[in-house]
């Protein structure tokens, strides 16, 4: 993508909060809604003499993510201390990984505007989160609930070329970690945080321009907007003959712009060294095999399978695999209904619409996949018409009841008995003698539709439309 003869070079660092029940190095809860400093202990507030002990689950989640991102998993990785002073960093250092990260050299692919894009993953390393400073003008309060929460920092190569690609990359990472169930992907609660490195260069240039880091962007829309702004800002600067300063900038969503936080001259020397309190993390082949076996089918593979084996259109396959829970819902529904496309249609149109309107997640749907599947099967069996099904669906959505129960209670079962239909038709024809006459003599045209409508109305919509058509045609001959 070219901007006024320039090309953007973008790399993203995403902090993925691993959804372990306890923190990375102690047994504090990671519950988001706890009161201020409720999820703390001597270890997480850095009291004298306390020591970190590694959470095995955090290692498992990190390895699984690494595998899903196609990374090499280091058989021996090392935790290092990143030393700097800040009040919300209780030990005066952050336990992180430096020159020997757990995961390296991966790639992921995704589609942007129909084109396939592949991005390299330079590394994914584990680190602990810091606390949160809340500035109140005159004073600052610190909440250490986040202190020690496990993070996996996923670092992409400088392979992204547009804001749209960057946002789609971030969405793909989110989709993958949610599939793996290692992160809830909740951006508002800070479960994923993006830092974007942006530089520009003349199209065709080999050397990278000076990069600027935009920190802590908490939505994909802002990723796109912040990068967009930053590209324009940098090109303007270059065109004016200015030099880009290597710096860290923050995105201001209210003013729609980035602003400088610190320049490289202020850059800290973190004095990394291996943390002597922790042993190197040794990963065995059998651990990797085990975790690989436990990996779920990932979105791209699953979408391909839906296209190939379920003959779904690409669009359907993509929508249904956005979220693992949705894809699971679809598969269960389809398994019950034995009708792939109808299952996809009902979910993509009716169900997703209702969920959106009610602001509910798929897991909270009052209609369960087996129920929806059975309802679709009832349509295919001819027990209810497609039209009646919409009424049944609404009732199921409201009450959570089984389709059979709704049909029975509301008397919505389709009338497929020719004799019963004939009886209704006879009544309708008897009540419309003049129209029958006009139809037969051809005095009035297009009355057939009127009769069908009248019969359906008389049957409260339950009459099998095909049979109504057939019998009416015979009667009106």
């Amino acid at each position: 993508m070219s901007y006024r003869g320039f090309e953007a070079v973008i790399g993203i660092e995403i902090h993925v909060q691993l959804s372990t029940a306890t923190k990375m190095f102690c047994a504090d809860s990671t519950e988001f809604n706890a009161g201020d400093n409720e999820n703390t202990s001597p270890v997480s507030v850095g009291m004298p003499g306390t020591l970190p002990v590694l959470n095995k689950k955090a290692i498992e989640y990190s390895i699984k993510t690494g595998l899903a991102l196609g990374c090499d998993i280091r058989r021996k990785s090392v935790f290092a201390r990143k030393n700097y002073f800040y009040p919300d960093l209780p030990k005066g250092y952050q336990i992180s990984q430096y020159d020997q990260p757990l995961c390296e050299n991966g790639t992921i692919s995704f589609k942007v505007d129909g084109a396939e894009k592949t991005v390299s993953i330079t590394r994914a390393h584990m680190e602990e989160d810091a606390g949160k400073s809340n500035h109140h003008g005159e004073y600052t309060l610190i909440n250490y609930n986040r202190s020690g929460i496990p993070l996996l920092e996923v670092v992409s190569g400088p392979d992204l070329r547009s804001p749209a690609e960057a946002a789609e990359y971030a969405r793909t990472i989110r989709q993958i970690v949610r599939y793996l169930d290692v992160c809830d992907g909740n951006l508002e609660e800070g479960s994923m945080r993006c830092d974007c490195n942006v530089s520009v260069r003349k199209v065709g240039a080999v050397q990278f321009g000076t990069k600027v880091e935009i920190k802590n962007i908490n939505s994909f829309r802002f990723v796109e907007k912040a990068i967009e702004y930053e590209i324009e800002r940098q090109i303007d600067a270059v065109e004016r003959g200015e030099k880009i300063i290597q710096e860290t900038r923050l995105w201001d969503p209210d003013k729609n712009r980035t602003f400088s936080m610190r320049t490289k001259e202020d850059a800290q020397d973190y004095r990394y060294f291996p943390d002597p309190d922790l042993l190197p993390v040794i990963v065995t082949d059998s651990m990797i095999e085990q975790y690989r076996k436990e990996l779920p089918e990932l979105p791209i593979a699953r979408a391909k399978r839906f296209q190939n084996e379920h003959a779904l259109p690409e669009y359907d396959a993509q929508v249904l695999t956005m979220e693992k829970a949705l894809a699971d819902f679809y598969e269960e529904t389809a398994k019950e209904s034995k009708n792939f496309k109808a299952s996809s249609n009902w979910i993509m149109t009716e169900l997703l619409r209702e969920l959106n309107q009610a602001n509910k997640e798929i897991k909270d749907s009052p209609i369960k996949p087996l129920q929806l599947g059975r309802m679709i099967a009832l349509i295919d069996k001819g027990a209810i018409s497609g039209k009646i099904a919409k009424t049944v669906f609404q009732e199921m959505w409201q009450s959570g009841k089984d389709p059979e129960a709704v049909i029975k209670e509301k008397g919505l079962v389709q009338i497929s008995d020719p004799a019963a239909i004939e009886k209704i038709i006879d009544e309708v024809l008897a009540a419309n003698v003049q129209n029958v006459e006009d139809h037969k003599t051809g005095k009035k045209k297009n009355l057939f539709g009127f009769f069908v409508g009248a019969v359906m109305k008389a049957s409260k919509g339950q009459a099998n439309p095909e049979l109504v058509n057939k019998i009416l045609q015979e009667k009106l001959k």
Binding site: M47, P48, N83, F85, Y93, G137, Y139, R271, P276
Partner: protein, 490 residues
Amino acid sequence: MNLTFASITEIADAVKSKKVSAKEVAEHFQNRIESLDGRLNSFSSKNSHAVHEAEALDARIARGEDVGPMAGVPFGIKEMFCTKGLPTTAGSKILENFVPPYDSTVVARLKKAGIVVMGKLNQDEFAMGSSNETSFHGVVRNPWNLDCVPGGSSGGSAAAQAARLVVGTLGTDTGGSIRQPASFCGIVGVKPTYGRVSRYGIIAYASSLDQAGPMVSSVKDAALTMEVISGFDNHDSTTTQRSVPSWSRHLKTDVKGMKIGLMKEYMTGGLHPDVQKTVENSIETLKKMGADIVEVSVPMTEVAVPVYYLVAASEASSNLARYDGVKYGYRADFKNLSAIDLEEFYSKTRGQGFGKEVKRRIMLGTYCLSSGYYDAYYNKAGQVRRLIMNQYLEAFKKCDVILSAVTAAPAFKIGERISDPLTMYLNDIFTTSTNLAGLPGMSVPFGMSQEGLPIGVQLTAGHFEEQKMLDVAYALESASPVKGKNPHVV
């Protein structure tokens, strides 16, 4: 029963069999502390609940409960160990008001075994010192000669134990901080193998070197205490999963056929004549007992002191970063906190809170870890450290235990070396390589200088071979020419 000179087992047995109550024991030692410590300054704070805690123990004994192998034994705990509800300052102003809400694992284990904590023992600030002159709580005096230092950094522990103000004490040893003061004060001090004893709740100086150990009056008491404090701790990833041997039960004075190594590099002269004599006497004694004396060599030990100061200072610079005045401990007085920036907040708080020696080491360590210097210093030191360990492992193929001096000379005068850090650092010349290699080491009293100052002998063994070292110490103790000698203050 003479409580003052009773051993750990004697006290515990007497308390458990109700020959004496834990309360009486606690009161006896409380009185000793009250009457004698004014001259020594070995305690930085006292546990005002000690007698109550002893009474509670008596009540449990009366109910027939098993109160543990150290029932009612009064202990003094170095300030480095976190003790729930008792001030834990590391000898520093920056922690002057810090009272931890938790016990270090070691203290928790001792409490479970029945000890009564009498108070916290003075030390060099953050264990950085060899003379106990850098403490915020003031200088500790050597009970054998009040003008002399007790050694450091566990100077308070050594002085209190030598003066029999308690029955047992705990120290920490990063480069000799148990062994050197034990030698200066004529007591037994053991630094176990790295990983043998949990570091959880012990204020960190240099994490890869720190190890806690007993500082007591006899080898047997040391072995007993080690049994209580050692073993895996799920709060410390660096503790070993190995089971804890019953060292005290297996103690023997029979050293026939044992190979005692003399390190060529430590035998080059330069020792104070009285120290030289003590070492020679100990060798002769062991020979007579049937031990074989062999020469071994650990050439890299020549650079142990600089390597030690690089490693220790680097780790310390990071370990001490948490003392920032934000969460606990000392904070500089700011008239208008909102008007000052963070850098000023930190520099004033830390500038006022830390003493000179601590600041010196923080700066040294910060420099060593800085970008561009890391490889030349910390990383290189780590490589040399590995070589030292490998050479030790080679040496231990030829011998069971290495014997040497603990320090080149007996205790020196207060104030004599404090303004000369380099001379002070050389105090550690025989002790630091043990920590760098992660080996167990100890000091056992075996001599006396012309001036009447005690002199210890250092024993070092292979990893997790504490038994061999303790046996040799037990043999030396049984034949010690200074056995039964006590400082005048006692």
